[in-house]
């Protein structure tokens, strides 16, 4: 079922959590392929397993069973250290809470992933600046998060996700903390990035937002229902 230009494939993924001696099956045999350049949204009610799925796609966690392949790397059996390196190079995260470092300029926030992958110091600033210009924040390089609006902060976060040129941009409720106007702006940025050929996976419970994507994956009780 793996297609030739598949960027990510999940095969029969199960994730079982142990809580107070009770096992909870968060994911129960999920198989999924995401192709290069796709804009996919993952939806489902809370408890449907979408967060768990996002963690596994984002290499923040490994499945209990099943196989995850990201750009020909089998990631389901990697160590904590190797996962960190994969996250750095292959995944660009955009969070609901923006998760920018406080008291740190936009430029430095965007530089952070580059610092962790050993990019030469002379190149870091240039790359970070370029990424911020892509999200129209070229004039806000030295602003701190508390000097930026919510929409601007989320654009800094998108720039940070783009700066390492990752295989997948993984957005977790990217509009959840924004007013509807800023939310629309952010979705427009994602659409633009999709047109430029980026692969985007967006997790959301909001049907309207989800419907902006090219493909919608619906989860219920740890299984893909459509």
């Amino acid at each position: 079922m793996t297609k030739k230009n598949a960027i990510l494939s999940l095969e029969n993924i199960c994730k079982i959590y142990q809580m107070d001696g009770i096992s909870i099956k968060a994911l129960n045999g999920v198989s999924l392929t995401i192709e290069e350049g796709e804009f996919v949204s993952v939806t489902g009610s809370s408890g449907s397993g979408k967060s768990t799925l996002m963690h596994i796609i984002g290499c923040l966690d490994v499945p209990t069973s099943g196989k995850v392949t990201l750009e020909h790397h089998e990631v389901s059996k990697l160590t904590e250290r190797e996962l960190a390196q994969i996250r750095n190079k292959k995944i660009g995260f955009v969070f609901q809470q923006f998760n920018l470092l406080a008291r740190t300029s936009a430029l430095e926030n965007v530089s952070l992933p580059l610092v962790y992958n050993g990019t030469a110091e002379s190149n870091i600033q240039g790359k970070a600046k370029e990424a911020l210009e892509k999200v129209d924040l070229g004039d806000r390089l030295h602003h701190h998060p508390n000097q930026l609006s919510g929409g601007q902060q989320q654009r800094v976060a998108i720039a940070r996700a783009l700066v390492t040129d990752p295989a997948i941009i993984l957005a977790d409720e990217p509009t959840g903390n924004l007013d509807s106007k800023s939310g629309v702006e952010i979705i427009e940025i994602f659409k633009k990035l999709h047109e430029q050929g980026r692969t985007i996976v967006m997790v959301t419970h909001d049907q309207n937002i989800a419907s902006q994507a090219q493909r919608i994956i619906k989860l219920r009780d740890g299984k893909i229902v459509s």
Binding site: G58, R81, A84, R87, L101, V115, N117
Partner: protein
């Protein structure tokens, strides 16, 4: 992650909580400063006493009345004051000194007694320590003269009322005047001054600067005391010192019925005193090191708080690709920064304090205590930083990101 970046991140996070960082470092500052200060007092005391002992002359054997156990001797000038305080029970006589002097290995010997007496000249009066001694004293102490000369054997034998002043005594009483030939009143009697010793520096028991020297026979008469409280004997060469000690004991045993005296050689006293002072220095340093330990615990405490506070940030950094090692190093660098920064400040405070203290009492900052303090403070940072740093590095990124 390059070390430059790590240091930048560490400085930034320490700056975020300036007063907290400062207070945490203060624990180490106090610890390091007190180690340096106390060790400097200990080693200063040792230098001081060693110098004073060596100032007395070389290859010396001392005979004191009464039995003195070196091991039970106190710290500091205990040897001397112990000897002089046992003067009352002293049975050593001037003739004993003559016999000691007859031993072939002995180059010269001097007897001493000590007393306190006011000394007056015209309107000026001051209290001085009077030392009654014999003519050889000056050869053994090897002190030069500012003016005049020391008294001679004939003056000792005839018990003339002549006096030699220490440099400070002469300065205080006479100022610019020439004291030679002048008469001072020592207690009830008038003494003619025949010399002023050159300045030796230092103070206390061993320094001649604030003493007045008179012939021992004169002193015995004035203070109504037939005994002597110390015999200083100089051995021909350093190699013969320890072999001469038993000879002196033998001679004195024949003259006195019981062994009511102690013969000590200078090196023995010196090594005992310095070993006592080394122990003291170590004990002082050890006590101070406890505060360094407490400072280390303070660092660990604040780093644990910091890890908890920054759980979310740690999660984010991990999501963005920071490996556990990078997180570990980051927090370790921060802890070491606190402790080394505190260590450097402590070295400055401690050395400055010791320098200030050295104006009032002997204190010398030793290089080894500074180095040790620096190394220990760095080690404290690593030892007490490793637990919080490990805790940070092992946080699960998912849990950490979820943490509010």
């Amino acid at each position: 992650m390059p070390i430059k970046q790590l240091i930048r991140v560490a400085i930034k996070s320490l700056q975020t909580n300036k007063s907290r960082s400062l207070l945490t470092a203060l624990g180490v500052i106090i610890g390091v400063a007190s180690v340096i200060l106390l060790v400097s007092v200990g080693s200063g005391l040792k230098d001081y006493i060693t110098n004073q002992m060596q100032d007395m002359g070389s290859n010396l054997i001392m005979v004191m009345p009464g039995e003195i156990d070196l091991d039970k001797m106190g710290v500091g000038g205990g040897a001397m004051s112990g000897a002089f305080s046992s003067m009352a029970s002293s049975k050593l006589k001037l003739e004993d000194m003559d016999e000691v002097e007859k031993i072939p290995q002995i180059e010269g010997a001097a007897a001493m007694i000590m007393a306190s007496s006011p000394i007056r000249y015209k309107g000026e009066s001051k209290s001085a320590q009077v030392i009654g001694t014999t003519e050889n004293y000056i050869n053994i102490r090897k002190t030069g003269f500012e003016k005049g000369s020391f008294f001679t054997k004939s003056e000792v034998n005839s018990g003339r009322k002549v006096a030699v002043l220490g440099y400070k005594v002469a300065e205080d009483l006479f100022g610019e005047e020439n004291p030679i030939g002048e008469k001072v009143k020592l207690g009830e009697y008038r003494y003619q001054i025949m010399g002023v010793m050159e300045e030796k520096g230092g103070q206390g028991e061993m320094s001649p600067d604030d003493k007045v020297f008179v012939p021992i026979t004169t002193a015995q008469r004035q203070f109504d005391n037939d005994n002597i409280s110390l015999i200083l004997a100089q051995v021909r060469s350093g190699d013969e010192v320890s072999s001469t000690v038993p000879l002196v004991e033998e001679v004195l045993k024949q003259r006195l019925e019981e062994k009511d005296f102690t013969v000590l050689d200078q090196k023995e006293i010196l090594s005992t005193v310095s070993s006592i002072l080394d122990t003291l220095t170590l004990a002082l340093g050890g006590i101070a090191a406890i505060s360094l330990l407490v400072g280390g615990i303070g660092i660990m405490n604040i780093m644990l708080v910091s890890v908890t506070e920054r759980t979310h940030e740690i999660g984010l950094r991990k999501a963005l690709g920071a490996t556990p090692e990078v997180i570990l190093t980051q927090f370790l660098v921060e802890a070491v920064f606190l402790s080394v920064g505190g260590g450097i400040a402590g070295i400055i405070v401690g050395s400055g304090g010791a320098l200030l203290l050295s104006k009032f009492m002997p204190a010398t900052v030793t290089l080894w205590s500074v180095m040790l303090a620096f190394i220990v403070s760095a080690a404290v940072g690593i030892i007490f930083g490793i637990t919080p740093a490990r805790r940070a590095s092992q946080l699960s990124p998912i849990e950490a990101l979820r943490y509010e």
